[in-house]
């Protein structure tokens, strides 16, 4: 029984982790917490829903179209909302992303309406596969595991070995020095937002398949994923993933024991962690030597 709970928690947690990574990538390169992340994923999911139901395209094509849309959306938001801001403070950035969130939510409500819809996802939550004696896993969870592992491996290799990935880390550590190296920092930010939006959209589609699709459906997953990311330490991608997984397990086990407390247990854990170790469980922060 406990194995079943842990495995299911891990699946949900991987999804939180994936979405948390989307938040963390932007935070890592530009120190902005993107509160519009959930709604960017929501809009992308609606686009997928639209092409699937209205144009009846096969799922793989809808998936590709959606990822392309998500990339463009991320770049567009960075270009329209964040780039024009001149010397903004952290608070200013937060307000900007909150504004973008409201705008996207309004757009979705206007185009697709506020009623709840079923998202026709390729992998179903009902179809179970027996993977171990006593443990069953639905298709959805298997999909989450495979995809998040692939994305994590890609991100690890990208940030460790590719020139662009190293340049992105360099930009985060010192924007002016990055400029001096000849790095086009604006392009780096643009790519960052594109990547983050893409990963966020993929995670959002998984969330939509698990619950329902309406303009508000990403609010709660976003809060949880964000909390999970903070739990692991926002600045380190492995930390965020582990935070997500932990969050999933805690939530699932507590949800089984005290179902009525399930929605809040995650946040209680966060509050405790933040009071004891404010920078998150796995963060290492470099203090500049003068």
């Amino acid at each position: 029984m406990i194995e079943q709970l842990i495995i299911e928690g891990l699946a949900v947690g991987a999804c939180y982790g994936l979405f948390g990574v989307a938040v963390a990538i932007i935070y890592k390169t530009s120190d902005v917490v993107n509160f519009a992340q959930g709604e960017m994923g929501m809009i992308a999911t609606f686009v997928a829903f639209h092409v699937l139901t209205v144009y009846n395209v096969p799922f793989w094509l809808a998936f590709i179209l959606t990822t392309a849309f998500a990339i463009l959306l991320g770049m567009l938001i960075e270009f329209c909302f964040l780039r024009p801001a001149k010397d903004p403070t952290v608070l200013g950035f937060i307000i900007i992303t909150l504004g973008a969130e409201m705008l996207l939510m309004g757009l979705a409500g206007w185009k697709w309406g506020a009623e709840q819809k079923d998202f026709p996802f390729l992998l179903s939550v009902q179809k179970m596969h027996k993977i171990m004696p006593g443990v069953v896993l639905n298709e959805w969870s298997i999909g989450v595991f495979v995809l998040s592992i692939l994305i994590m491996i890609f991100l690890f290799l990208f940030f460790r070995f590719s020139k662009l990935g190293i340049a992105m880390r360099a930009t985060q550590q010192n924007v002016n020095a990055a400029k001096i190296m000849g790095i086009k920092v604006e392009r780096v930010f643009s790519i960052t937002w594109a990547m983050s939006s893409l990963i966020g959209a993929v995670a959002a589609m998984f969330f939509a398949a698990r619950s329902v699709l309406d303009p508000n459906f990403m609010m709660e997953p976003f809060m949880r994923a964000f909390a999970a990311a903070v739990l692991g330490g926002l600045a380190s991608i492995p930390g965020v993933v582990v935070g997500g997984l932990l969050m999933g397990i805690i939530e699932n086990i507590f949800g089984y024991v005290w179902p009525e407390w399930k929605p809040i247990v995650a946040f209680v854990v966060i509050v405790i962690v933040i009071t004891i170790k404010p920078s998150g469980l796995f963060s290492k922060h470099y203090v500049k030597k003068v």
Binding site: K163, I166, A167, R169, A170, Q173, N174, N176, A177, A178, K179, I180, M181, G182, I183, K184, Y286, K288, K289, V290
Partner: protein
């Protein structure tokens, strides 16, 4: 090679440079000297276009006959100017190797870049030892060498160094200056900003004194070294005299 003509730079409502003009000849080591807040760093930052987009307010900067005072920083780097900022500014959480790689960001020729990394590691053996360490864990002198090595990776024609001796022991300072001299002998023109006037005058071919955002003196180091005012106010060789045997006073000089 580099011609700065009459630049004026403002920080909001404060004018930091009041029309600075100077020239850097190809193959030389040129020093900009002066005390704190004189505007030396601002001059370099203005050339690199690291300040606000509308700076310099007035004047022109030409590099190899091309106006660069409205270009983007990364274009200037591509043209062949490399800048070692004040206080090193290495990327603390990247390894030494990754830092050096970032220096070659603008280059397309991967194979030659590899050879250059090798030659830089040969020039700075200490960096080879620390290759896989985080740059933030290096000592000040090692970081300075890393910053210089990183700047050389872009194959600059002009290397601008801001206070390379900052926070280093006299021994390390001398080592850094010998390195600078060697780089210069290999054909890189050098523009140097220093507070350590003594050292800078020893190694440079031409020097400009900056004060309150203006250039107040320009001459060969041999001549500046012998100058009475420079001796007293920059080199700290005291010529305080006492009038009537008991009252001591400080001579004041305005270079204007």
């Amino acid at each position: 090679m580099l011609a700065v003509k009459n630049i004026e730079t403002w920080y909001d409502l404060i004018r930091a440079l009041h029309g600075i003009s100077f020239e850097v000849k190809e193959g030389s080591i040129v020093a900009l000297l002066g005390s704190n807040g004189a505007g030396k760093t601002t001059t370099l930052k203005t050339i690199m276009r690291l300040l606000d987009d509308d700076q310099p307010e007035k004047g022109t900067v030409e590099f190899l006959g091309q106006r660069i005072d409205r270009m983007d920083t990364e274009e200037i780097v591509r043209l062949g100017i490399s800048y070692v900022p004040e206080g090193r500014e290495v990327f603390p959480e990247l390894t030494v190797m990754e830092n050096i790689l970032m220096g070659a960001y603008t280059r397309k020729d991967r194979r030659n870049a590899k050879a250059d990394i090798e030659s830089i590691l040969n020039q700075f053996p200490i960096l080879r030892e620390r290759k896989d360490q985080q740059a933030g864990h290096l000592s000040g002198g090692e970081q300075q060498m890393l910053a210089i090595g990183r700047a050389l990776m872009s194959k600059p024609k002009l290397l601008m160094l801001d206070e390379p001796s900052l926070g280093l022991s006299p021994l390390l300072t001398r080592e850094i200056f010998t390195i600078i001299q060697r780089i210069n002998k290999e054909g890189v023109t050098i523009l140097l900003v220093e507070q350590n006037v003594n050292m800078a005058l020893k190694y440079s071919h031409y020097a400009f004194l900056v004060e309150n955002g203006r250039i107040v003196r320009a001459d060969k180091p041999e001549i500046l070294r012998e100058d009475k005012d420079v001796k007293e106010f920059y080199l700290g060789i005291a010529t305080e005299t006492s009038v009537k045997g008991y009252k001591r006073y400080r001579r004041k000089v305005r270079f204007r």
